[in-house]
């Protein structure tokens, strides 16, 4: 039997029952469309989170000052003041692979300029902070190491703070009063948007950490240290060495807990994307159910079709068709339905996810692998659910089939 005539016969059979073919394919169309659209929603959410994580900077290790227990009261991360400026310098000096270190203190405060005031976050950092976070200035100039050494009263401010305090005026060269201390605004940062936790990262004042410690916050310990290493491969060894270095410096005997926490960016990213990965899986799984239902629809119609065309099968067998020819014919019919359905479903899914991002403003991300997978899955659905009816057809006895009423 010739391959082209098998295809011809199968296509003709599908054309003879156009409405039925379309309705049967609809199950697969909806199934594949749903999978593509749902997975694109999940991927979109994941990509958004990943983008936010990337805004932390590349190859970053974050060290938080630890919690201490004092009279049974545990203070929580960052509040114990276990990290010293010397610790940061030691890291800078001794840990290989480290390319930038920024000492960090954080506070919140009311700030004012002229007749405007605003409650915002005050970050004390080193000048390297802006490189670590890949956060350039949009206007003005950064503070310098000299400013850090002299604890100068200078600061750069985020976009939100700038517009809240200075309105449409340029903040560069203006005086911003923080807890009554006048600071010279030297620069405005580019907008960075929301953090993975949903806080506005642009609502910020950043100044040399020495200035923050001496003039705004007080105290002599750091809340945290931001460290950047050269390559992703340096992350794990650097993290290890920082831990060892700090334990040694803090005289922590083995067996005792660290009084600090070291996290690298990958760990943070994994935690943050776990949710969206679960969501993608869940949405995909639900959509896959409809694909299976579509497959059962194909099986149902193919079984009906085999019963209905019993005589036709009998005639084909009588004039010389092998069981294999009949099997192939019905299998091709099923696979054609599911593959055409799959192709239309892919278009539908692409359209749906586009609509979702345009009209509902949901982040969607079409992944090529999911399209390829959907296509092959729909073909597999056709083979899987088409095989049983096709085999039933192929096994028919020609005499019985010809006599079938």
């Amino acid at each position: 039997m010739r391959v082209d005539s098998t295809f011809k016969i199968a296509f003709r059979a599908l054309r003879r029952n156009k409405l039925r073919s379309v309705l049967t394919a609809l199950g697969i169309i909806i199934g594949v469309g749903a999978v593509i659209a749902m997975v694109s929603i999940g991927n979109g959410a994941k990509a958004q989170v990943e983008q936010q994580i990337a805004s932390l900077g590349e190859n970053v290790i974050l060290i938080f000052s630890g919690s201490v227990t004092s009279s049974g009261i545990r203070t929580g991360w960052g509040n114990a003041g276990t990290l010293k400026i010397e610790d940061a310098e030691a890291i800078r000096r001794e840990v290989p692979g480290v390319i930038a270190v920024s000492e960090e203190v954080i506070s919140t405060s009311q700030v004012s300029a002229g007749n405007q005031n605003w409650f915002t976050r005050i970050y004390g950092e080193s000048p390297e902070y802006f490189d670590i976070r890949k956060w350039p200035l949009s206007d003005g100039a950064n503070f310098t190491s000299q400013d850090v050494r002299s604890a100068n009263k200078v600061c750069v401010i985020g976009r939100t703070t700038a517009s809240q305090v200075f309105g449409s005026e340029s903040p560069i060269g203006q005086i911003l009063r923080i807890k009554g201390v006048p600071f010279l605004v030297t620069g405005v940062l580019t907008a960075k948007g929301l953090s993975p936790q949903g806080t506005d990262q642009d609502d910020i004042v950043i100044m040399p950490y020495t200035s923050a410690m001496k003039r705004v916050i007080g105290g002599s310990t750091l809340r945290g240290i931001n460290v950047q290493v050269a390559t992703p491969n340096d992350l794990a060894p650097a993290q290890q060495q920082i831990t060892e270095l700090l334990r040694q410096r803090h005289n922590i005997r083995s067996g005792r807990d660290d009084d600090f926490t070291v996290r690298n960016q990958q760990e943070i990213a994994e935690t943050a994307t776990a949710t969206s990965r679960v969501m993608t899986l869940l949405l995909g799984a639900i959509a896959s159910v409809s694909l299976v239902v579509g497959g059962i629809g194909i099986m149902n119609i193919m079984l009906v079709s085999v019963t209905e065309r019993t005589r036709e099968i009998g005639v084909r067998l009588a004039v010389g068709a092998h069981g294999r020819d009949i099997l192939t014919q019905f299998l091709i019919e099923a696979v054609t339905l599911s593959v055409i359905g799959g192709a239309i479903g892919i278009l539908l899914g692409l359209g749906a996810s586009r609509m979702l991002s345009v009209f509902a403003h949901w982040p969607t991300l079409i992944s090529i692998p999911s399209i390829i997978a959907a296509f092959f899955v729909s073909a597999a659905v056709g083979i899987f659910f088409g095989f049983y009816p096709a085999r039933e057809a192929a096994r028919l006895d020609p005499i019985e089939a010809l006599r079938y009423e």
Binding site: M1, R2, S5, K8, I9, R12, R16, R311, E312, G314, V315, R316, L317, A318, V319, G320, A321, H322, G323, R324, D325, P398, I399, L402
Partner: protein, 249 residues
């Protein structure tokens, strides 16, 4: 190859069906020969075994005992696919209920056996051959008609064309006029007689004696065995019968 021009040779053929615990001996020891160019009509009441014998002759079924030589080759031991190839190459089928594929043109119906054959014809050659065979049964110009657009007699002619397309050794017709009125039946018999005149072997099952009278040899079956086997003495010719019918008021 066939000796003495014998196309069909049955040697003590039995066919027994097992339905539950009951054994049905549908055919019990039939031996016969059909020569090339014969026109045989099998007759008999229902249950006489003529349909079972027809299925055996048509290689749709295998005998439980005995040998069946078709065109000199023993086909009694062949498997399902080998039988399918034999049916495709050596046999043509005409059924009582035509069994044409619905919503498929006459041309495509006629081409059907070629699709399953070993021939490596181009589509154009396929069409040319189908058109030629359709013309031979008087259906020129109706190649594109679907079965629903054709009368019963025309549908049966399409079926005959389909049976002829592979130049079979034997054309097997199972009650070919069972669903047709007498005038159309005569027309179909006319086609059969003309095909037979061209040397095509025809084996037909019928329970109508006046249809059997168009054949050259009548075999009457009873209880799974041959009751009588004789040449038709007063043979009807379809052509003269049609003239008589035309003369009627």
């Amino acid at each position: 190859m066939a000796e003495n021009g014998v196309v069909v040779r049955l040697e003590d053929v039995h066919k027994t069906y097992h339905t539950g615990e009951v054994e049905v001996h549908a055919v019990r020891g039939v031996s016969l020969e059909i020569g090339r160019g014969e026109f045989v009509a099998f007759m008999g009441s229902s249950g006489s075994g003529k349909s079972t014998l027809m299925n055996l002759l048509g290689c749709l079924d295998r005998p439980t005992e005995g040998r069946y030589l078709l065109d000199g080759d023993d086909v009694s031991g062949l498997d399902r696919d080998q039988l399918a190839d034999i049916r495709n190459r050596k046999l043509g089928f005409v059924f009582q209920s035509f069994n044409l594929l619905a919503r498929t043109s006459a041309l495509e119906n006629v081409e059907l056996p070629l699709l399953y054959g070993e021939s490596r014809l181009t589509n154009a050659e396929l069409h040319a051959r189908a058109i030629q065979v359709l013309a031979a049964v008087g259906l020129s110009g109706r190649e594109d008609h679907h079965p629903s657009q054709l009368s019963g007699g025309q549908q049966q002619r399409v079926a005959i064309a389909r049976a002829l397309i592979n130049n079979p050794e034997v054309v097997l017709a199972d009650e070919p006029t069972g669903n047709l009125d007498s005038r159309t039946s005569t027309e179909i018999m006319d086609i059969f007689q003309k095909l037979n005149d061209r040397g095509i072997t025809i084996v037909m099952v019928t329970h109508e004696p006046d249809i059997a009278a168009y054949a050259k040899r009548n075999i009457v079956m009873r209880d799974g065995a041959v009751q009588s086997d004789r040449a038709v003495t007063q043979r009807l010719t379809a052509e003269s019968e049609m003239r008589k019918l035309a003369a009627l008021p």
